[in-house]
Amino acid sequence: MIHSSRRGRMLAAAALATLTLGVTAACGPDDDAKPAEGGSGAAAAEPVTITLQTFGGGKNFGYDEAVKTWNAAHPDIQVTYVNLTDRFEDTYLPQMLQWLESGSGAGDVIGMDEGGMGLMAARPQYFADLGQYGLESRKADFPEYKWNTGINKDGKLFALGTDIGGMAMCYRRDLFEKAGLPTDREEVSKLWPDWNAFMETGKKFAAKIKGVGFVDGANTVYNSVLSQETGKNGNVTYFDKDNNLIVDKNPGVKASFDYVQALSKAGLTAKLRSWTEEWNTAMQKGQFATMGCPSWMLGVISGTSGEGNAGKWDVAAVPGGSGNWGGSWLMVPAQSKHPKEAAEVLSYLTGKEGEVAAFKEGGNFPSNIQAQQDPAVADAKNAYFNDAPSGPIFSASVAKLAPVFFGEKHAQVKAAVEEVLVGADQGSIKWDEAWQRFVDEGVKAAD
């Protein structure tokens, strides 16, 4: 009985999650029927209510202010903003898929993380064609990478970009100084124009300082190298554009794998996995000197390292100049009763005004190029990181970012092969066997 209460706890948690989602689901249609409050009495027509569903902890998509502004200006189209859960992978995505399949429950505008984009692009039947509502005209607003990911397998535009991670290289000034390396961010960026130079710098660092990793682990470096290799190999990674698995055939994947292998074998990684206790502690204690940094990682570093380490971290350019980790999109499900109005709201939220507001509220770095150039973003400085000008650094990293095709099972294959990299780096898999295993795991995950 008591053993089953262990299971019961998990069930209860699951039930609670379902219940929460169920309740919010129930709210969606209800709100549609109910006339929205706050609409001016003079408005003759019944206002249309657009439900906006997102995920994420803290400020999540950061749309409180943007929605308030919209609602004040548009009495005829009222937006209800619902953040469903802070868990994307195990709660939001499965729930959203169920709603899409059953034909009701999903909002009029929904947020989607990068990890779900491959899957959604392979299911065009569930989404409105945004081209129908004139949003093709927005192409110039976005970097190629962000725009292309919003095109589904039928070649239709179904999603527009919200935030983007970008990629920079965070480094510890105090450790660099100890190792006799420059500490100024301009000079540090010049140390590593490409990834080979980055490795050479690492070797110099390791020669001076023992027991401290040059990078935290395998994954961020791997992904940054891969995103640069993607551009050289026809903008594909694990799947070709016909959704065939090419993990073993794409030279870009092998090159990225080999680079991480060399880095790990040279002893330059601290053999850590992101989001573990060890990783947090190592960050606080300065057990690694650099870390691949998307814009949102700045908050993670300052939050984890604490006030005691303020000013020790700084931000330089990423080797090779481009990269990305994370970011989201907005889309309109085909089940929406007001797709035209939903598309208008979507366009506003992904427009300059919406993305600048989200940046101010939640620090979400805009993917919209005009928003990136807004002084609120472009002149933003991060005090914790010695007033590093984060805006220009991250804008630069995504400007030339190669677009990449996400296969239907991209997220699963990515997770499976990166697990092998972590294992090889940490020693549970021999490097000699790692490539074969990397391919095998990719094949299994795509099955």
Binding site: M1, I2, H3, S4, R6, R7, R9, M10, E89, D90, P94, L97, Q98, L100, E101, L119, R123, Y126, R273, W275, T276, E277, E278, T281, A282, Q287, K409, Q412, A415, E419, V420, V422, G423, Q426, G427, S428, I429, K444, A445
Partner: protein, 325 residues
């Protein structure tokens, strides 16, 4: 239940015997009284069975139905017969998960029940502060399983964990507990044991107190020492209780989930090569990470059968306790 029905029989037989012909015309009323006598008991117990049918039986059968399909969430749903099962039985990752589950179960449960037995025996003696001690062994049970797993995962940390620090005093190099099968299994087994040993001890203690004192007195007079009394009287008398704890532990062990998930930083992969991925984690990964519901449903059914099988094996093994004596 049977008592009520029998009690009702007597008057019902008695009444019609007097006026059977009358009752002939009174069909509906007779039917109602028959219903009252025969069906009421079933009605009283029905809430459980109705709830069970909705929340137990239906999911069970629906899972079976799903398992016969290639069933993707918001994707294709094609009937493929037993293909998921044949694929599953050839899936080395599944068998790896089964091996991990059985392995962790064995190294967690065997010592756990033995320690619980000895602990209960000790608590059954006259001790100072007996109540306090008896309650004390239950304390781990009221801590949340996730809290336990978080704390233990920190204790077993590679770089800054307390366990590695203690080992380093003896010159042992830092162990990366997640990296190898043996080390991850040991770490997870200690979490399970820390939480459940006290509970099993209390169950044993309760059973021990029902053993008649005169058995022990007689044994003392015959010259049996405490050890002989423990193995010759206590353990055989506890047999039904031991069977109970073994079966409950089997079910718990085979559905082990929260501890290994927390130990593997919340991932369903259970380590980089699946060193400690349990069957429950395998099912969640297939169903809710890869969205292959059909395949996950097949795995769930196989797990169900495995639990039944191992509970039966354990039952047979444990039934033999004390028989040789």
């Amino acid at each position: 239940m049977s008592l009520h029905v029998d009690a009702g029989h007597v008057p019902s037989r008695a009444a019609p015997s007097r006026g059977r012909r009358h009752e002939h015309r009174n069909g509906p009323r007779r039917f109602l009284s028959w219903l009252d006598l025969r069906a009421t008991p079933y009605m009283f117990v029905s809430p459980y069975f109705i709830l069970f049918a909705i929340f137990g039986l239906f999911p069970l059968l629906f899972t079976l139905w799903v398992s016969l399909h290639k069933w993707q969430l918001a994707g294709e749903k094609t009937f493929i017969g037993l293909e998921n099962y044949t694929k599953l039985l050839a899936d080395e990752k599944f068998w790896n998960a089964v091996g991990n589950t059985v392995g962790i179960f064995l190294i967690a449960t065997v010592p756990q029940l033995l320690i619980a037995l000895l602990l209960a025996n000790a608590l059954n003696k006259k001790l100072r502060g007996r109540l306090f001690l008896r309650l004390g062994v239950l304390v781990p049970l009221i801590t949340s399983v996730v809290a336990v797993a978080v704390v233990f995962t920190q204790l077993y940390g590679r770089d800054y964990g307390v366990v590695n620090w203690i080992l380093s005093l003896f010159g042992v190099e830092n162990v990366h507990w997640q990296n190898a099968k043996w080390s991850s299994w040991v770490a997870i087994a200690t979490m399970v044991d820390w939480r459940w040993t006290g509970y099993n001890a209390i169950v044993y203690l309760a059973a021990m107190q029902t053993i008649p004192k005169d058995l022990y007195e007689a044994a003392s007079i015959d010259g049996a020492g405490p050890r002989r009394q423990f193995w010759g009287i206590t353990v055989p008398m506890l047999k039904p209780t031991i069977v109970f704890t073994v079966i409950v532990s089997t079910i718990g062990g085979f559905t082990l989930f929260a501890e290994p998930v927390m130990f593997g930083s919340g991932l369903m992969t259970g380590g980089t090569t699946g060193q400690f991925q349990t069957v429950a984690m395998f099912i969640v990964k297939k169903g809710f990470r890869d969205f292959e519901y059909g395949y996950a449903a097949a795995a769930a059914w196989v797990l169900f059968l495995l639990i039944l099988l191992s509970a039966l094996i354990n039952f047979a093994l444990v039934r033999g306790i004390g028989r040789s004596k």
